[in-house]
Symmetry: C3
Subunit: 257 residues, 3 copies
């Protein structure tokens, strides 16, 4: 039986973590199912936006500690390798990934939110990286948490292990939107549609370039690379169509090329 | 006829984008005029702060799409090269550059704000990087937008193409101040004066070192470089005068050296 | 007579800057005393959290300008070398360092706050890097200020020299908490305890890895390094105990290994 569910609606695909019993832990099995589904979505190129949501009491509680407790170190190493591969998959698919959080996202669950391109949460949501509480610092969640939130706030999450509210998470950069729980579905759909309406080719090129230039320390090296991408992409079918449509004051028709 | 106006008042120079008809688009002509004016200001060393403001319905709508639509790729490449040179000029002049935004700053217009040292905006201002809407991702604006705003907020601007308000822009780091439209002139003058009162030599040295150390990834490599700059600059005339004046409880007199 | 006081209470050590007459300036003597005390704390490994607070009118006014005014350049160079060594000491001790600010933290005093792992301040606190006012840009404070606050806000502090409030400092990332002055002691104790309750070995490993990965530009290089650390640390005594305790629903007992 699968630990995730999937459905598509127009240009939006929704993956639902569906393992309430284990608090949607990022178990090895769940990681593999998520990775396989994202690979399929990337290959099919039918949708533009992937929403990752969850059913049950929490969004995700992070790794399944039973897969670490007493396990051979090789197995632990493999677990973290596959988890890293999942984070890289999120980065490398052409689609924009939105985490949709309700209730609680902790440890690797918070990492999943941080590694997503965008995130929305209900106003009762809480976020934490509580590894210190169980004697194992959230070393891997720290990477994307500290690349989303400012340094002091990231340190606070990691050193205290305490929760921050959705509102704090928004102000400090972990998530984009906070909405009342009863509007979470509706507002996520609006948010997803604001991205899904664009050309997949344009989103793909933008996602690739946005993150690539972020890995270039020097501002103007990053700009030189980005100018080059911009010039090349200005010649692509959807740019030609989009600019022409704008100048002719008509809606553009995307070919996704 | 020029697309910009310029006036000086004490230590503050104000460049006004003056092409309402084209929504103050960063056309090749406007880019060249801006670049030439900034070069002149840098060479003259008469003022300490440059304000970039605009007249008309918007601050700036970004590139002139008519210069991209159907243009030979060499021309597009040249446009982006000259635009990058303008951004480097803003970085390399000794003066502190303040963008003063009213109404709307989009695409390369938002890039201009992000690439400025400081920014102030009227409370009715809106910011967007809407390239996705015309099939050409805001690849170049992404560079400074993602170096001003936190990662998730930058991604939101770039992937949705939607506007954010001045207040959001302030909280997430794109601008420094939001003021009522009727106070924009007065508050900008105050803000500019809080910088312009200092020695040009000190502002120049600070601007150079601030950005240089930001391009050094390692914290303590950046600090080693910065300590060295600080020691050297402690021996310069305006540091000697400034420290002495402080200890003698009298106003300093800057020689701009 | 010492310029600092020190006391320990359980797992928390509190260093008090005690030189009100010189506004708790980071004089060479104070820098050396702080460095020596932190070295001792690091070697003893008795406590988990160091609070740096101050007695007197302000938290710290930064460097003692009388040590720069008219001094031989070798002495100035030595001062900044020893100050940098102190910042590196804060980074390299196993304990988490919390700055507890009241009233005013300026220049190298603001640098001390920025270089700390965490910071809390009373709601009447003000922060500034006012070097421009004395003709010597806050080149060294700029390093950690610009690695805490977003780029525009850091530039504002550095170019204007003006104060920002504790609330602004919190929103933009310089400090974690703002509390009423009369609750500063109580809230700092709570904040410190939320960290001090953890294993010193876990805090040490976390602190080292958090900052190391921040110095790695590429996201996934940082994650590869961090995954490796996580796997290794999952085998350490306090991780084994912490995870087992969690699964057995009992409190963990830390061996600090």
């Amino acid at each position: 039986m699968s630990l995730i569910k999937y459905e598509e609606n127009g240009k939006i695909g929704t993956i639902t973590l569906d393992n309430d019993k284990q608090r949607n832990a990022l178990s090895l099995e769940l990681i593999r199912e998520l990775d396989a589904k994202l690979t399929e979505i990337a290959n099919e190129r039918k949708i533009n936006v992937v929403i990752i949501q969850a059913e049950g009491k929490v969004f995700s509680s992070g790794h399944n500690l039973r897969e670490i407790d007493g396990a051979p170190v090789e197995d632990v190493a493999n677990l973290f390798e596959e988890c890293q591969a999942l984070m890289e998959k999120i980065r490398n698919i052409p689609q924009v990934v939105i985490s949709k959080v309700h209730a609680i996202a902790t440890a690797a669950g918070a990492q999943l939110v941080a590694a997503s391109d965008l995130a929305i949460a209900s106003d009762n949501s809480l976020f934490a990286t509580p590894g210190t509480l169980i004697g194992l610092f959230c070393h891997t969640p720290a990477v994307f948490v500290s690349r989303n939130l400012d340094r002091k706030k990231a340190a606070e999450l990691l050193f205290t292990g305490d929760f921050i509210t959705a509102e704090e998470a928004k102000i400090h950069g972990l998530i984009n939107r906070v909405v009342p729980l009863e509007k979470l579905d509706e507002e996520t759909e609006k948010f997803a549609n604001s991205v899904a309406r664009h050309s997949l080719a344009v989103l793909e090129a933008g996602k690739k370039q946005l993150y690539t230039q972020l890995q270039i320390t020097n501002d103007f090296d990053a700009l030189t690379y980005s100018s080059d991408v911009m010039v090349k992409n200005s010649q692509k079918p959807d740019a030609v169509e989009g600019i022409r449509a704008f100048l002719e004051k008509r809606p553009a028709e995307w070919s996704d090329r």
